[in-house]
Amino acid sequence: MGKFLSLMTLLLAAVFAGGTASAQSTAAAKKEGKAVIYGSLESDTMEAISKAFTKKTGIEVDYWRASATKVMDRAQSEFRAGKPLFDGIATNDNPQQIMQKEGLFAKYDSPSAKAFPKDAIDPNLGPRYRNVIIGIVYNKGSIKAADAPKSLEDLVKPQYRGKIVMPDPTQHTTTTQWVASLDKVLGGKEKADKYIRDLAAQKPILVESLLPAAERVATGETPIAITYVKYAFIFGQKGAPLDYVRLGKMMGDGHYIPLAAKAPHPNAGKAFIDFFLSEEGMTIMAKMGEFVNRKGVLPPLPDADKIQFVEMVDLDTKEFAEKKKEYTKIFLGS
């Protein structure tokens, strides 16, 4: 009996200790009061997730939004000066890898990560929570579905000459990366090189970034755009007659949300990352048109489940400069 009692006591103690550990981290997170996140994720999406998180935990989220380049710039500067103010960073792969190499992040295995496919988990950065996919979007008012291009190769056919808008690959970094990765979906470097020249010969209208490209298609100013597929949903929701070409394989950028190595609010930061990657967090994001990687959560876009995601190549500073130079010759002819 005595033995039984002591065993029970031990068991209870173990259960309690476990419970207390989790309760302790929650209490610590609450005591820290807020989590500070830097990122290039759209403010609306972050706001929706933060609101749900604050409602659940009482912990506030301060979000500092900027372009990926500026996010990296600020985070690195603070880190180098020894005064990092961020607990986590939500942005795309390339800058995340650079920051990771510089030691800005801590390794954190979020319990929410289990629900992500293994190939969508980076050993250092954790789950790739969303894929931002670039494809062909067209205006149904300007082009009938039957007349729309069916593949990337179709885009270089004579009937689409002057009817395409895309971001300037000599200026817009993600587009530089996209053009540089075309061999991944076109079956080899040679084919890709020829394709790039043919695409340039179509005299596409070059704009500053992916959004203006989508806007021009939404207005009908240009019928076809190379842009984020999610815009077909986002603008479509507001009434623009947009659809996307079912390419099968589509390239894009992966996004991560790692924990900062010197987080001023580490527990609140962890709690937020856990919630962000949870089913609730990812569902909120998917509803806004995002392709999230958590199993079973899909955006409300027709045939979203059929898209095969191909990650674009990472380029370093030197490679970016070389590619931009090369594309200046091809696309701008100088």
């Binding site: 500092w64 000066a81 806007e215 815009y231 009434g239």
Partner: protein, 583 residues
């Protein structure tokens, strides 16, 4: 030798102590030293980091080695020189056109009896309230060659095959930038025009000059300091502006300074601060050359004195039947400056998504974007932050600007030129480059300023002090010394004279400057973007990110609400200024 040293030791302390004592016995000298200290700290500290950055091979914040590579990159590139020419054409064109618009509008509204002139005076300020980014976007919507509203209508009405005017060109770039710059020129020129002594004009009339002869031979020459101030200010502002070039020059493949800095350094991946700093130094040198020119133009300060102690009321010119033409010209400017961009903004704010309006658009109009802004807590916080920055920032800025203007123009204190030099340094740097300097300058600062709203306040005061200074200088130059001398003769000290004589006389300039600054601070984004901290987001970055996320409707709604707030700010400021003069 030893004896000599001892003698020196005895003499020197006594000499310096007495000199220093006498120097500081006068409050004006003490204020001068304090002011110089504040200005030096505000401007030199971050500027040092930028200069240092241009000569080092590591990003700011990391120790690096001395290098000339950044300068070699800038100057070895033949494109740099072509770019210099384009930037100058753009800067001079935009500045000249804006001064011309401002002069015409100011003259009609202040000096003539054209009907409805008071209305035009008020609306000349409104475009300053509208965020430049939105003005550029509005004009792209109106004048882009493929489906701009004006071009489209023109082609439909006349059956023409090509557009009336292509906004994606250097003339287009100059035109839009000049519209953005006009209100600033108007405020400076109008303040000087209001404070002009009419006796000179009356003498000319008495001597047989016609009304237009008076304008050409008396009014315009008297206005020279204000015109030059406005032109210099706007030239540099155009040179460093990024809003219009980003919207118009980039798609048109026109390369100016700021687009190159953005493309090669600040917007490149990863950011190259060192190169940005080297470009920044280049702009600094050009701007300093213009400041030097400006100072030479206005060196004979006395000859510009037009406000004296004699009671005066600016003389009003009777245009007789020409006055309707004057109203027509002012009305046309009003349409171009305010009505068209505002209507486009309003239309965009009422559309569920941004597109070229069709008949269906009118059925889909919605107030949803306004509802979002009014109900969103993030927007509320941003309004609060920006109001704080506008009210406190503009007041601090104008206080420092008035003191600096007085010291540099009116006193003979040795080293007074230093003050103006100090204030011009941040003016010459592009906003983003200065912001970078500030960020690193304060990241290691012992007082916790980094990542608070105070760093933005410091940035605004530093960066926009020259604007305030220009506004107040053109007024102070015109105030005749006899008023101060009378005050001093009656026994008033410097502080009393400054407060009771100079401040009231400088009021038009101070109020003009305050209005410019408060409206700029309400929506500034290029420097703020780098400096704002999580949880303290002002309106500028909020609007920019809404724009970046494709929420044009919300941007439009936010822009309109900001404009309304600014109109209130201006109305209150003008009310206060009038109330003050009555009491």
């Amino acid at each position: 030798m030893a004896q000599k040293a001892v003698a020196l030791e005895r003499v020197l302390p006594a000499w310096s102590a007495s000199r220093v004592g006498t120097f500081f016995a006068q409050p004006i000298n003490l204020i001068f030293v304090l002011l110089a200290g504040v200005l030096a700290f505000l401007t030199l500290y971050p500027s040092f980091f930028l200069l240092y950055g241009s000569f080092t091979d590591a990003p700011l914040g990391v120790p690096g080695h001395f290098t000339l590579a950044n300068y070699i990159h800038v100057y070895a590139d033949p494109e740099s020189y072509r770019l210099l020419l384009t930037s100058f054409i753009f800067g001079i064109g935009a500045s000249a056109l804006s001064v011309f618009f401002a002069l015409v509008l100011a003259w009609i509204t202040i000096r003539t009896n054209a009907p409805f002139r008071r209305l035009f005076e008020l609306v000349a300020i409104i475009p300053n309230i509208m965020p430049p980014l939105l003005i550029s976007i509005s004009w792209v919507l109106l004048l882009n060659p493929s489906n701009g509203l004006i071009n489209g209508t023109w082609m439909r009405l006349t059956g023409a095959e090509s557009a009336l005017f292509n906004i994606y060109s250097i003339p287009g770039l100059i035109f839009v930038e000049s519209l953005i710059l006009t209100p600033l020129a108007f405020l400076i020129i109008a303040a000087a025009l209001k404070g002009m002594d009419p006796s000179l004009e009356e003498s000319a009339k008495t001597l047989g000059s016609s009304e237009f002869g008076v304008v050409a031979r008396i009014t315009l020459p008297l206005m020279r300091p204000a015109i030059l101030a406005a032109a210099t200010l706007n030239f540099v502002r155009a040179l460093e502006s990024f809003d219009t070039p980003a919207i118009i020059a980039l798609p048109a493949r026109i390369e100016v300074f700021t687009t190159k800095i953005w493309r090669e350094a600040l917007g490149s991946f990863p950011t190259n601060h060192n190169l940005a700093a080297a470009y920044g130094v280049e702009i600094l040198i050009i701007a300093l050359a213009f400041v030097y020119l400006y100072r030479r133009f206005t060196s004979q300060v006395e000859s510009f004195s037009t406000v004296t102690g004699k009671g005066f009321q600016p003389h009003q010119i009777d245009l007789s039947r020409w006055r309707y033409l004057a109203t027509g010209v002012a009305f046309l400017l009003l349409v171009v400056l305010v009505v068209l961009p505002f209507l486009v903004l309003l239309l965009v704010s009422l559309m569920p998504y941004y597109h070229v309006p069709t008949w269906q658009t009118w059925q889909n109009l919605t107030l949803g974007n306004f509802k979002f802004i009014l109900e969103n807590t993030r927007a509320h916080r941003a309004f609060y932050n920006s109001m704080f920055l506008a009210l406190v920032g503009a007041s601090i800025c104008m206080f420092l600007a008035s003191l600096t203007a007085y010291m540099t123009i009116r006193t003979k204190i040795a080293g007074r030129g230093l003050l103006e030099g100090l204030v011009f340094i941040p003016w010459a740097f592009p906003g983003t480059a200065l912001a970078l300097g500030l960020l690193w300058a304060y990241v290691d600062f012992p007082v916790p300023i980094y990542a608070t709203i105070w760093i933005i306040l410091i940035a605004y005061v530093t960066r926009f002090l020259p604007y305030g200074l220009r506004a107040v200088s053109s007024t102070i130059v015109q105030i005749h010394k006899e008023l101060e001398e009378a005050s001093t003769a009656c026994g008033a000290g410097f502080i009393a004279t400054f407060r009771r004589i100079l401040m009231p006389l400088m009021r038009p300039g101070i109020m003009a400057g305050w209005i410019i600054l408060a409206t700029i601070f309400m929506r500034e984004f290029s420097a703020t973007l780098f400096l704002y901290s999580p949880g303290a987001e002002p309106l500028g970055p909020m609007m920019y990110f809404l724009y970046l996320d494709g929420q044009r409707g919300r941007v439009g709604a936010l822009g309109i609400i900001i404009s309304i707030i600014c109109v209130f700010l201006i109305a209150i400021a003008q009310r206060l200024s009038r109330w003050d003069s009555k009491h």
